[in-house]
């Protein structure tokens, strides 16, 4: 088989390339040609289109997200922040925790079970990549109307997917949210959070340093999963009849992920790894370019060494594949055998696919044909950045004018109460949480129905953490600035009431299309609100995720920032559960 090589690209500068179909703008394509000094090869075009997509480059959100680092006072407890796979916060001078919340909305609409399952799998690998042992998960779900004909497919598939993956991975589910609102009908939200714990000495990063070090790909074989999924699935909306263009869906294998976790932890503890990166939505493309860009060196990778599920895969497909349960490790040559031996012990594939080089170029070949030769920073760091136009939604004034005070007062309180209790958003959630394992690992101190999940981290000292997530799309639609602050305040309170001290924030910002100035305004306002709120509370945003293009046709979902607050408890035996403890206790109402 022959591929579109760098040589060929030089010889055929006028070849027409489908950059627009890959989601690249004409000026973005021109910049790629400028960077390379020639037309990109097919593989390079795939890589740039993936890395410069909204999903990977944060091109529309970057200018706003800066506030999270600029507005917050420097925090010496934060060991890793925005830009890393997940933020890491020290609890004391030995132990740190890392947590993050991420979306998997679009894949979950296409295939609810697998979409939700691989959402959990993806966030857990982010936590693992920081050097941490994942210790719990949470899930934040938004569905359409409870009585819509498509809702059962989504609810049951998604809940079973979250449970199926998390339960099989052995991670307790310690909380989450379930909201029904017609605005999510064609675009449910599936956000998943994971938290992990690590000795500070085990903190990992994704830097590919050390010329001559080996590049090891660990985990599942690479298949045609979600080829182009990042650019197609994450940055376009679903239209009727788009079935044919659907790329193959990623299928999760939690068993392989469990083995990947155990083998990576053993490799960390043996001190065998220089850098590590999980393979997420953008597969090898992202892992190869981000690790080599972070190291400031070059990298040579050999695609024919990548274990494939289907032999007929072409180089650009191998680079774009979203196959799950894979990690990329940078390992000193003398440690390669030891790493592969640990892989073998756990029955995980480990393959040496390349090495770190001098010269600052990422060079990728396939059967002796060079298919990629570019500066890795141009993929990972120098993507386009847009300051998109913002405009307050035209209907906002009307919405705000329609005030609650004008509603008729209820005359029958009993009926009001029954309506509330019976509403899908307020009713008991145990039909969901009973499908999740809350006990595994034996450290769950509080979970459903509590306001926050509490996990013991150290059996000797009883050190522990509390986590809560909140978000309210309806408030945020009415006032995105205050809505984001409210989400923060609610999660902060939910953590505080357990007796924990809040110390850090992660967020998942679910919005419509950034190309719509009204949506972009909502986004800008929400980020400003969250940043201001965090400044007031004195806790930093350590990481998060932006999910744009959540809409059906041109109608966006309600802007839905989901905010996660992490708190610390020096002694989890002193936690305060909700509910009244004893008869005779005094009831006090705090606040206004």
């Amino acid at each position: 088989m022959t591929a579109d090589t760098v040589d060929l690209a030089e010889k055929t500068p006028d070849e027409e390339q489908p950059y627009a179909a890959l989601g690249l703008q004409p000026d973005e394509y021109d910049r790629i040609r400028e960077i390379l000094g020639r037309r990109p090869t097919q593989s390079e075009l795939a890589m740039y289109s993936i890395m410069w997509s909204e999903h990977c480059s944060y091109k529309s959100s970057k200018v706003h997200l800066k506030q999270f680092t600029e507005k917050v006072a420097k925090n010496n407890k934060m060991l890793a922040g925005i830009g890393e796979n997940a933020g890491v916060v020290a609890l004391n001078d030995k132990i740190a925790v890392t947590f993050k919340v991420e979306s998997h909305n679009h894949p979950s609409f296409v295939e609810p079970y697998q979409g939700a399952a691989t959402g959990v799998g993806g966030i857990v690998r982010d936590i693992l990549a920081m050097g941490a042992r994942p210790i719990a998960v949470m899930d934040q779900l938004r569905f359409g109307a409870v009585d819509h004909p498509d809702t059962p497919r989504l609810v049951h598939g998604i809940v079973q997917g979250v449970g199926g993956y998390g339960n099989c991975l052995g991670l307790p589910n310690i909380g989450g949210e379930t909201v029904f609102d017609p605005c999510y009908q064609g675009n449910p939200l599936v956000n998943a959070l994971s938290i992990g714990v690590l000795p500070i000495s085990r903190l990992q990063n994704k830097t590919a340093s050390g010329v001559g070090n080996a590049v090891i790909l660990m985990g599942a074989k690479t298949g045609r999963d979600g080829i182009g999924g990042v650019s197609v699935l994450a940055s376009a909306t679903f239209e009727e009849g788009s079935e044919d263009s659907r790329p193959a869906v990623q299928v999760g294998d939690p068993f392989t992920e469990k083995l990947l976790i155990e083998s990576c932890l053993e490799i960390y503890d043996a001190g065998l790894v220089v850098g590590i990166q999980d393979l997420g939505g953008a597969g090898l493309t992202c892992a190869l370019s981000e690790t080599s860009a972070a190291g400031g060196l070059g990298m040579r990778a050999y695609l024919e060494r990548v274990p494939l599920r289907e032999a007929s895969m072409e180089p650009h497909e191998i680079l774009a594949s979203e196959s799950q349960e894979r990690m990329l490790l940078i390992v000193a040559p003398e440690n390669v055998d030891a790493v592969l031996a640990i892989c073998d012990k756990w029955g995980v594939l480990g393959t040496n696919i390349g090495e770190i080089t001098e010269g600052g170029r990422l060079v990728i070949s396939w059967n002796d044909q060079v298919v990629v030769d570019c500066p890795p920073g141009s993929l990972a760091d120098d993507g386009p950045v847009y300051a998109r136009p913002l405009r307050e939604p035209a209907d906002l004034i009307l919405l705000q004018a329609d005030r609650a005070e004008t509603l008729p007062r209820p005359t029958d309180l009993r009926a009001e109460l029954l309506t509330l209790v019976g509403s899908p958003n307020l009713c008991d959630k145990s039909w969901i949480t009973e499908q999740y394992d809350r006990y595994v690992l034996g450290n769950t101190v509080l979970a459903q129905p509590e306001d926050a999940g509490v996990i013991r981290i150290d059996e000797e000292s009883n050190l522990g953490v509390a986590l809560a997530t909140d978000g309210n799309g309806r408030y945020t639609r009415l006032n995105p600035y205050e809505g984001a602050k409210l989400a923060l305040a609610e999660a902060y309170r939910n953590v505080s009431v357990t007796g924990a001290t809040p110390i850090a924030v992660s967020d998942c910002l679910n919005f419509g299309s950034p190309e719509d100035p009204a949506v972009m305004w909502q986004f800008a306002e929400a980020v400003r609100g969250l940043a201001d709120g965090c400044l007031e509370m004195g806790i930093p945003v350590t990481g998060g995720n932006v999910s744009f293009y959540n809409q059906t046709g041109t109608v966006a979902i309600n802007p839905t920032p989901v905010v996660a607050v992490l708190g610390v408890l020096d002694d989890v035996t002193k936690r305060t559960p909700m509910g009244f403890a004893e008869a005779g206790d005094t009831i006090v109402l705090l606040g206004e």
Partner: protein, 227 residues
Amino acid sequence: MKIGVVTFPGSLDDGDARRAAGLAGAEAVQLWHADADLKGVDAVVLPGGFSYGDYLRCGAIARFSPVMEKIIDAANGGLPVLGICNGFQVLCEAHLLPGALLRNSHLHFRNRDQKLKVENTSTAWTSGYTEGQEIVIPVKNGEGCYQADEHTLDALEAEGRVVMRYLDGNPNGSQRDIAGIRNEAGNVVGLMPHPEHATEALTGPFGGGVDGLVMFTSVLASLGVKA
């Protein structure tokens, strides 16, 4: 006394089982699925989880691991063996216990605090309970529906080999509300609910129950009696 806890690839509650053994006063020993060596342990726990992903059938692949060959021999020779959840499934697949565990009748994974009635205390693992005692232990499984033919079920009942039964609602549709059974000799017990998750007030079922710890203290007592 040493209680060995097997770790198969995909075992999840192995750490909890080791912690429980320790809380009961035993030395917990990790046994690796690929080792055909029981490291001189006095009893074995096959923990919960999804061994080998529980693909094909729960426990089907784990049953063929090297450590299981040794455990089958040792169990036939009287070594106390407790299979919890996935471990119960492995014991059935290995024919150390009769019957099989099928998909829950409601087709969902279910995790809840489960009330149980202790039916039989003449096993190595339940001697510390009193017959008829009601206890609460978490249950969490997707395939915990115990099934056997009528003849086998009648024999189990007649011989007092039903060890625990679900009370106040059967969480998985198991026949005759069976939660756990034992072999004829009483050294091998399989149980769907998870006693290792009810050994500490802080992390146990709602209300702080530690009813599960008795299973681990029972085996130590029965070993002491023998020694």
